[in-house]
């Protein structure tokens, strides 16, 4: 029998790492979305929540320590996710150097075929989002209130539009990614498949709607 | 030419065991010094190559397909017999032996058949251990069914794909040996001639079908497992690539061809739809368990089946064979269908078909039950014909399916050429004049897994075999002949395609040497075949080059050999002036149209010696002795 290659070098190993890191990022995205919904409770509650995030872990940890640890964790997850994605995409491209003149797709979905582009949109968006609402470099009027920065930012329609596009991309990425991750992890079976599909739809819709509700509400004047 | 069957003496039950003890052995360390060439990778070839490699021989294996997994054994549907008696219904080695000799219409060798029945049990063990997914009962034990009219349930099966699963088992064993470096595999490589040195088979000349390269391979022994020749009829259930070339080339070099006229016509195939037809599709015989076969009583009745009232239908098998009815043996069911069509009562656009009707079964058991049993087959029928068998009866017609004849071999499976061993459908040995259902897989695997590994060692140990190499003059000379033939085919540049010749040959053979044969018809064929052969060599058009992938050239070489072989088949059919099993001579039938054997004069194997193209071959007889089974007339009334 053939000598086995090391796990992270194998295509299944890379897929496995993508699935694990994808699910970690999904956890973050879900938590972040729920936190964001505090915007509907007004500036005070929202800013208090932002402060809480900085102070988690006190008194064992210093202010912001936990947040940085979480950020490093997320950064590692994103890094691994992207590295594997690039590596597998290159492998896939190499596997079919000459394409078909005619293609007819029978079973795949728009979401599954656009995972790469969805991922690129999200990566660019994350950079913009950090520059916009975390560091303020891309914000036209950055202040000390997290709530204020958010409302001021979303009042500008091009900014909101960018957020809307990114959230739709996120929804599609999750719709295929969540279901696909369980297949890759081997945690899927015929009995679970329908349930996992349903959960994927629910998560994709809920998270997208949750995120979208904020810029939309700001634009509509519900959040001021 | 001398035919020494080398059947061991002693009681039939002990022959194989005592023979195995008397066979010479080769020291394990010495086996690697022997090169064995295996041609063909079906059940017999793959199992032989894998097993010989396990024993330590240095094996080369050849197949014309792009992978050894695609050999035509893969298409066998029904199952494989074994005398396991797991059903406790009274089966035994002796009963399987008896049924097979009787089923072969008393034209096979008792000793070979007994050995086959003995080995049958080991095959199932081997296949199950390899992971062949046989059908199982809920307790986890193997399931069996009764097949082909047998009175015991001894058939093991894997849905309708038993051949596929057994072949993949043998292929996996072969793959393991390839990975271990013990077998060198040559896919897309066709054997085009046998090389003889000092009167022994010492190698083969092959053509690489991708590059066109002609090459020689030398070895200490050659094993051919190259299948049957049903495609001599052009339309058959065999794969498009099946051919007689390897066997014919060996025959030309001195291997006797035994009983070439014994061909099996399977009754339940989908009829021809038009001139474009390239092959015929078999539908499992199991359909006859529930389907009723009929034709309209009126000649040339063009009404739709549903418009023909019950009293205007002739359920002819039920009428002629009240106790077996629609389950009458293959040869009878086929011949009676032909009779009905000859009388003008055939159905379908061509008039060459009979109805296989499930409406009574569906009324009795419900459509769901029938669908559960035969759903796959019904779907396949609809895919091919565009007709829905739930709504209208299927149309079926017999088609060539298996050839019992083949190269003559002795008890050790060695042909009349020392060193040339022949296995599986390619040899003539075990089925006599008619093969029973679920016996082909058994024979192929018995030969490959459990016979040749013992007997080839004896040959290698006994013979003084000098070293030979592809640079020896015998190899170079044979290569030259092969190249000349290819060049000749390419240079004719006539007007007719290879396929058109094959089609015409097929028609001659089907009409004159098919399901029913006559003295007059066979003599006519013996005039027509040489004429067609002459035209072929003057007027065939083969385009392209020899040094390239060229499918027309491959086909041309095969058809050229068929054009010589067909003549031998007709000679054999003409000489055998009796009816037995798959060979039916119209002059020799009982009053009610059944086959009439002539044991006095024809209880022998006809082994033919090649005397040149177009010259009458020389007949040698091996007398068949029946010490255990009493000769009797088959009766299915």
């Amino acid at each position: 029998m053939n000598q086995a290659q090391s796990f992270p070098r194998s295509s299944i190993g890379k897929k496995f790492l993508m699935a694990i890191t994808g699910l970690m990022l999904l956890g973050f995205v879900l938590g972040h979305m729920i936190g964001n919904l505090k915007a509907f409770q007004g500036a005070e509650k929202f800013d208090a929540y932002a402060l809480f995030l900085k102070e988690v872990g006190k008194p064992v940890l210093g202010k912001g320590d936990f947040l940085w640890m979480a950020r490093l964790g997320l950064l590692a997850a994103v890094g691994i996710h992207i590295f594997c994605a690039v590596s597998l995409t290159l492998q896939n491209r190499k596997a079919r150097p000459v394409g078909y003149k005619k293609t007819a797709r029978e079973a795949s979905t728009y979401a599954s075929r656009t995972m790469l582009w969805g991922g690129i949109i999200l990566a660019l968006y994350v950079i913009y989002h950090i520059l916009h609402l975390t560091t303020g470099h891309a914000h036209h009027d950055f202040g000390s209130s997290v709530y204020g920065n958010m409302v001021a930012g979303f009042k500008q329609w091009p900014v909101s539009l960018a957020y809307v596009i990114a959230q739709i991309a996120l929804g599609m990425h999750l719709f295929h990614g969540f279901w696909s991750a369980f297949r890759t992890l081997g945690a899927n079976n015929p009995n679970r498949d329908k349930k996992l599909r349903a959960i994927a739809v629910f998560l994709a819709v809920a998270i997208t709607a949750g995120y979208l509700s904020i810029p939309v509400s700001v634009m509509a004047g519900i959040i001021q | 030419m001398e035919l020494n069957s080398k059947i061991p003496s002693g009681p039939i039950q002990d022959k194989w065991d005592s023979h195995k003890f008397n066979l010479k052995l080769i020291n394990p360390a010495n086996k690697r010094k022997y090169q064995v060439i295996v041609v063909g990778s079906g059940l017999a070839g793959a199992s032989a190559a894998a097993t010989l490699a396990e024993l330590g021989y240095d094996v080369k294996c050849f197949c014309f397909q792009d992978s050894p997994r695609r050999a035509h054994s893969i298409a066998a549907q029904g199952g494989i017999n074994a005398a396991k008696n797991y059903q406790n219904d009274g089966d035994s080695i002796y009963r399987l032996f008896y049924d097979t000799v009787k089923g072969g219409d008393f034209r096979s060798r008792e000793a070979n058949v007994y050995r086959l029945a003995q080995i049958s049990v080991n095959i199932i063990d081997q296949a199950a251990a390899q992971g062949v997914p046989f059908a199982r009962e809920y307790g986890g034990m193997l399931a069996n069914r009764s097949f082909g009219g047998a009175q015991v349930s001894r058939t093991f099966y894997a849905r309708g794909q038993t051949g596929q699963q057994l072949l993949l088992g043998a292929y996996s064993a072969l793959s393991r040996m390839i990975a271990a470096g013990k077998v060198k595999m040559y896919p897309r490589t066709e054997m085009l001639d046998l090389v003889m040195v000092d009167g022994k088979a010492r190698g083969i000349v092959t053509r690489d079908l991708t590059t066109g390269k002609i090459e020689s391979h030398a070895g200490h022994a050659v094993v051919m497992a190259t299948g049957g020749y049903s495609t001599v009829f052009y339309l058959s259930t065999n794969a498009m690539g099946c051919n007689v070339t390897a066997n014919w080339r060996a025959h030309r070099k001195g291997a006797a061809f035994a009983n070439p006229c014994y061909t099996q016509i399977h009754p339940t195939c989908i009829p021809v739809s038009g001139d474009h037809q390239s092959k015929l599709t078999l539908m499992s015989e199991s359909l006859r368990n529930d389907g009723r076969i009929w034709v309209p009583k009126k000649k040339g009745d063009t009404r739709a089946a549903k418009d023909i009232p019950e009293n205007e239908r002739d359920y002819y098998l039920e009428r002629l064979y009240p106790s077996f009815g629609n389950l009458a043996p293959r040869d009878l069911a086929s011949r009676r269908a032909k009779d009905m069509c000859d009388l003008g009562q055939g159905v379908g656009a061509t008039g060459l078909g009979v109805y296989l009707d499930f409406s009574d079964a569906m009324k009795r058991d419900g459509e769901a039950t029938i669908s559960e049993k035969y759903g796959n087959l019904f779907d396949m029928y609809e895919r091919i014909t565009g007709e829905n068998p739930y709504r209208q009866p299927m149309r079926i017609f017999p088609a060539p399916h298996y050839t019992m004849g083949g190269l003559w071999v002795d008890y050790n499976l060695m042909s009349t050429i020392p060193g040339l061993h022949v296995l599986g459908e390619a040899n003539f040995s075990d089925h006599g004049a008619n093969r029973l259902g679920a016996s082909a897989l058994m024979q192929g695997l018995a030969d490959g897994y459990f016979v040749i590994p013992y007997t080839i060692g004896d040959y290698l140990a006994r013979e003084e075999l000098k070293d030979v190499s592809p640079s020896d003059s015998e190899f170079i000379e044979t290569e030259k002949q092969v190249r000349q033939k290819i060049d000749r085919l390419l240079s004719i540049d006539g007007t007719r395609t290879v396929d058109s010749f094959h089609r015409e040959l097929g028609r001659i053979m089907w009409n004159h040497c098919g399901m029913a044969r006559t003295d007059k018809g066979l003599k006519e064929a013996l005039v027509k075949i040489p004429e067609l052969r002459d035209e072929f060599w003057n007027n065939v058009r083969v385009l392209g080059e020899g040094s390239d992938l060229n499918q027309s050239l491959e086909k041309a070489g095969r058809v050229a050999d068929f054009l010589e072989f067909a003549e031998l088949m007709c000679h054999d059919a003409l000489t055998r002036a009796e009816s037995c099993g798959g060979h039916f001579r119209e002059e020799h039938q009982t009053e009610d149209g059944e086959a009439k054997r002539n044991d006095e004069e024809y209880s022998h194997v006809s082994a033919w010696e090649f005397t040149g193209v177009g010259s009458t071959p020389k007949l040698h007889k091996e007398n068949l002795e029946f010490e255990n089974v009493k000769l009797a007339t088959r009766s299915y009334k």
Binding site: K94, A95, V98, F182 | -
Partner: protein, 248 residues
């Protein structure tokens, strides 16, 4: 009926190929797709042109030799059907048909519509077997196999190795083929001793042969003439992860 065929012609692996257009005037709906190609070839030979090379053998959907991509679909539009059993009644008069070979770097084109699939054989050689020496097997009924497992193993073992899964996959992945063999043997008690080594070895070979990775598009399952389920891929992933863990 009348059809316009665009057929891929390529002299050899190293040479460039292109489409060639042929108009067929009298195609019978009762012809199989391959019989239609036969007819084209007869006409080409009669006109002094080299016939189109394509792989085929049993013509009853079991040997796995045939396979072409027809209007973007491996083996054509009919479910659970190989090209040899696809009949021309699936097409309409006047239709345009594009015929292409399987496209994958692990399946280089040999000529015209023929590809080299020996990479599949090498995947099997790297572990798609149960090591049992001829003659060493115990009585077949000494290894009981639950019927459910035997049936599931059979569903996977039904693979004919045609390569349609690779052809259909947007990534040219051979996961369905490999998973079918890994699962067939992994589901049976006979396959347990080598189960972990088998999956590790076969997946390594699959990657080395240059196939793509699986992104769960399901196109392979849709194209498979034996309707093998992608659940076996999920099963192989699990086996692979467990085997990797135990190996370390």
């Amino acid at each position: 009926m009348k059809l316009t065929l665009h057929v891929w012609r390529q002299k050899s692996t190293s040479q460039k190929g292109a489409f060639e257009t042929h108009v067929m005037d009298s195609v019978s709906p009762d012809m199989s797709f391959l019989e239609m190609l036969d007819e084209l070839n007869q006409a080409l030979i009669t006109n002094g042109k080299e016939p189109v090379a394509f792989d085929h053998d049993c013509r009853e959907g079991i040997c796995g030799s045939c396979g072409v991509v027809i209007n973007g679909r491996p083996h054509g539009p009919q479910r659970a059907t190989t090209a040899c059993q696809l009949h021309m009644r699936s097409y309409q008069d006047g239709q345009e048909i594009w015929v292409e070979p399987w496209r994958a770097s692990a399946f280089p084109v040999v000529k015209d519509l023929m590809v080299d699939r020996t990479s599949f054989d090498r995947i099997i050689q790297s572990g798609g077997f149960i090591s049992v020496r001829t003659g060493s097997a115990p009585d077949a009924n000494e290894i009981p196999v639950p019927k459910v497992d035997a049936d599931k193993a059979f569903d996977a073992a039904a693979c004919i190795g045609c390569g349609a899964c690779v052809a259909a996959c947007p990534n040219a992945s051979a996961m369905l083929f490999t998973a079918a063999k890994v699962s067939h043997m992994g589901l049976l008690p006979q396959g347990q001793p080598e189960r972990e080594q088998r999956v590790l070895s076969m997946v390594s070979t699959m990657d080395e042969e240059g196939f793509g990775s699986c992104t769960n598009h399901k196109e392979c399952q849709e194209a498979c003439p034996k309707e093998i389920s992608i659940d076996y891929i999920s099963r192989m992933n699990r086996d692979y992860v467990c085997a990797s863990k135990n190996k370390g």
